[in-house]
């Protein structure tokens, strides 16, 4: 609630605003209260958040180890499957909830002046809380399956950071677009479904035919999951650089993340002043 320069006032509210402290305060408050609602809102509370990836894991695990016997020749396949599901769930949850986030907060947006970017960022933050809790389960699983801690586990930090940037960019872009185009939601559901199979969640990158392995690596999620496998689960698995055929080529998935984030920011900034009236 700083005194903003009057010049900015009649163009409508901005995406970020001038008061960083209030911005951070608002984002965390919204994310925490959302998280609380999820946590205490139902009888099983947080268990549900945990159940979703675990149930998916259970089903996929049964199908691909018992029925299709796909995971037989992948070392520690169940652990990889769980870790990949958790990371993908983070991206999926952030982006899907991001799509409708502005419209769901219509009440706030139309009645209070605050930086608009708070809304999609609170969604990302909320998903990060869930990711953190889910990662605890992943690590428990990793240790339980006899993998001993290594320094390369630290690589997970930049990998998750990259994933967060990618998810945030997507959430910003989609939330701003959804205000204008209400069919973003079903479209995104389909795209996410495609992404799920296009990313190495139920399979591993090295199992792909060589002809498409490099192309598949252009997908940032594929690159992140591939590197995650190498760093966390199986040091003998190819790194992302190996899979794409040279470290320089890793710039392609990185560029996609950067472009998504930049595009999301640009679209959101452009739309921010008019979000309240277009809702």
């Amino acid at each position: 609630m700083s005194a903003q320069p009057a010049a900015g006032r009649y163009r409508g509210p901005s995406a970020v605003g001038g008061d960083l402290h209030r911005f951070v305060n608002l984002t965390t408050t919204l994310a925490v209260s959302d998280f609380k609602l999820r946590f205490f809102g139902s009888a099983l509370g947080y268990l549900w958040t945990l159940m979703r990836p675990l149930m998916l894991f259970g089903v996929l695990y049964l199908v691909f180890t018992e029925v299709v016997r796909f995971g037989d020749n992948v070392k520690n396949y169940p652990v990889y499957l769980l870790a990949a599901i958790v990371l993908f769930t983070f991206y999926g949850e952030t982006s899907t909830r991001g799509v409708t986030s502005l419209v769901e907060r219509e009440n706030l947006l139309r009645k209070i002046r605050f930086p608009r970017l708070v809304i999609p960022l609170a969604v990302t933050l909320h998903s990060m809380f869930n990711l953190g809790l889910n990662l605890i389960v992943v690590f428990a699983f990793v240790l339980a399956s006899g993998i001993s801690p290594r320094v390369s586990w630290l690589e997970l930090i930049p990998l998750v950071a990259l994933l967060v940037v990618f998810a945030t960019g997507t959430a910003m872009l989609l939330s701003a677009l959804y205000v204008r185009y209400r069919d973003m939601q079903p479209i995104w559901e389909v795209v996410l479904q495609i992404l799920f199979y296009a990313s190495p969640v139920i399979y591993v990158t090295s199992a792909l035919p060589d002809s498409i392995e490099r192309e598949a690596m252009a997908n940032p999620l594929t690159a992140i999951l591939t590197q995650m496998r190498h760093a966390l689960i199986d040091p003998s698995a190819p790194t992302a650089a190996d899979a794409i055929g040279g470290g320089v080529r890793l710039l392609i998935p990185l560029a996609i993340v950067a472009v998504t984030f930049a595009l999301g920011t640009w679209v959101f900034m452009r739309e921010a002043p008019r979000i309240a009236e277009n809702l």
Binding site: T29, S33, K111
Partner: protein
């Protein structure tokens, strides 16, 4: 009520130009685009790539200019859809404006409605923290003022109850209590006085007086003319996005009543009794003794209710009745022509104006007029009747509580 009495004369317009101004709007305009066919999906847009450019423009605000002084209570009134809330949102910076300039001196409260963002599934405690932070307090400030907020709302026993179990009055109280903690120089509030029960309302009024003494500026939107007259130093009336009055609250309140009921009052296009009329009522209105049409009539003066009628057949000895109903739709007063005058005979095509004059001792309030015309043929036969076709607003300095304020004397005889 007593507050109004404690500030005699203060309700008259305080010249805003005299002191420094807190809020200045110069020629503010705002239009919304309303597409004829709303292409809100990509599919539709792809199917009709060129037709999406047709839209109506709704001029929500047109060239609104005003100036609110520091420490002033400024009311914004108008009918639904007149642009009040749009104006408030433009001032608050929630909407951008198309043209014009808004200048605000001092810190502006970032919210325009009480209890925004309250979540029914969170407890009062969580909601207060959330709301306070939304309104701009830091977490620490919010925690420090928490007790004060709950105490003001008188909800100490219910702090850990979920808001969905609160009554609507309780949650509005909570909203108000949080809102007054905001350290803003300029507060913009939408419909704030419709809160709580009588005792809480009293506290709110006291709070307003405190803010006034702290020279905070408050702009508020309301439909309640009583609170405008009670609190505002000045007020402005919006109608279809334009400012049509700006000045003393009592004048603006009168103007509001006129735009609100004026349409009705100037009417005459009431419901038809049937297709086959022998005579019909053309117009219904009120006027004063000078012959000017009025909607607002001061109590105690002569008021004249008029109808203009047209005869479609020859009619002898018609009767005319004018009924006045109050807002509770109780018939308060009926004026009859029968027994007062001999109407005589009318030919087909004749027109006549009938005037019912009376000393206006109706209690202050809003009345609707229902004229009727009938003949004895041989029983009472209605020729035409127009229900509630016109309105009359009676104004008086005091409200006695009765439905009529008959002139009376009081004597005391000691024995």
């Amino acid at each position: 009520m007593s507050l109004a009495a404690s500030r005699p004369g203060e309700t008259t317009a305080r010249p805003a130009a005299g002191g420094p101004s807190a809020v200045t709007a110069i020629g503010v305009s705002k239009a919304f685009r309303l597409p004829h066919q709303r292409y809100s999906t990509l599919k539709e847009r792809a199917l009709h790539p060129f037709s999406s450019s047709t839209y109506d423009t709704l001029q929500a605000l047109g060239d609104v200019s005003f100036d609110v002084g520091v420490g002033e209570f400024f009311g914004i009134v108008g009918r639904n859809g007149s642009g009040k809330s749009t104006l408030l949102k433009c001032l608050a910076g929630i909407y951008g404006v198309d043209s014009g300039e808004i200048r605000i001196d001092g810190r502006l409260s970032p919210f325009i409605e009480l209890g925004v963002g309250f979540n029914p599934d969170l407890t009062a405690r969580d909601n207060v923290m959330l709301n306070a932070i939304m309104l701009g307090l830091t977490r620490r400030e919010a925690r420090r003022r928490f007790d004060e907020i709950i105490e003001f709302a008188e909800l100490q026993e219910f702090v850990d109850m979920k808001l969905k179990n609160y009554s609507s009055g309780m949650s509005v109280r909570l909203g108000f209590s949080v809102a007054i903690q905001v350290d803003a120089d300029v507060l913009l509030v939408d419909e704030v006085l419709a809160v709580g029960d009588a005792s809480f309302q009293r506290k709110c009024f006291d709070e307003f007086d405190r803010m006034r003494s702290e020279r905070r500026t408050i702009l508020f939107v309301t439909h309640d003319m009583n609170s405008v007259e009670r609190f505002c130093d000045r007020a402005m009336l919006l109608e279809q996005g334009s400012m049509i009055a700006l000045g003393a609250p009592d004048e603006v309140a009168r103007g509001y009543n006129e735009v609100n009921f004026g349409q009705l009052a100037s009417g005459g296009e009431g419901s038809e009794l049937g297709a086959q009329l022998d005579a019909r009522i053309l117009k219904t209105w009120c006027e004063n003794t000078a012959g000017e049409r009025i909607v607002v009539a001061p109590q105690g003066e002569t008021c004249i209710a008029c109808i203009e009628v047209e005869f479609l057949k020859a009619i002898e000895e018609p009767l005319f009745v004018m009924s006045f109903r109050n807002e509770a739709r109780q018939p308060i007063f009926k004026a009859h022509s029968a027994g007062q005058i001999v109407a005589g005979a009318f030919d087909a095509g004749d027109k006549a104006t009938i005037r019912f004059s009376f000393e206006n001792f109706l209690a202050p309030g809003r009345y609707t007029l229902t004229p009727e015309m009938a003949i004895w043929d041989p029983d009472y036969r209605l020729l035409d009747l127009r229900d509630d076709v016109a309105a009359l607003i009676v104004e008086a300095a005091n409200r006695s509580g009765g439905v009529a304020d008959l002139p009376h004397r009081v004597e005391i005889e000691r024995s």
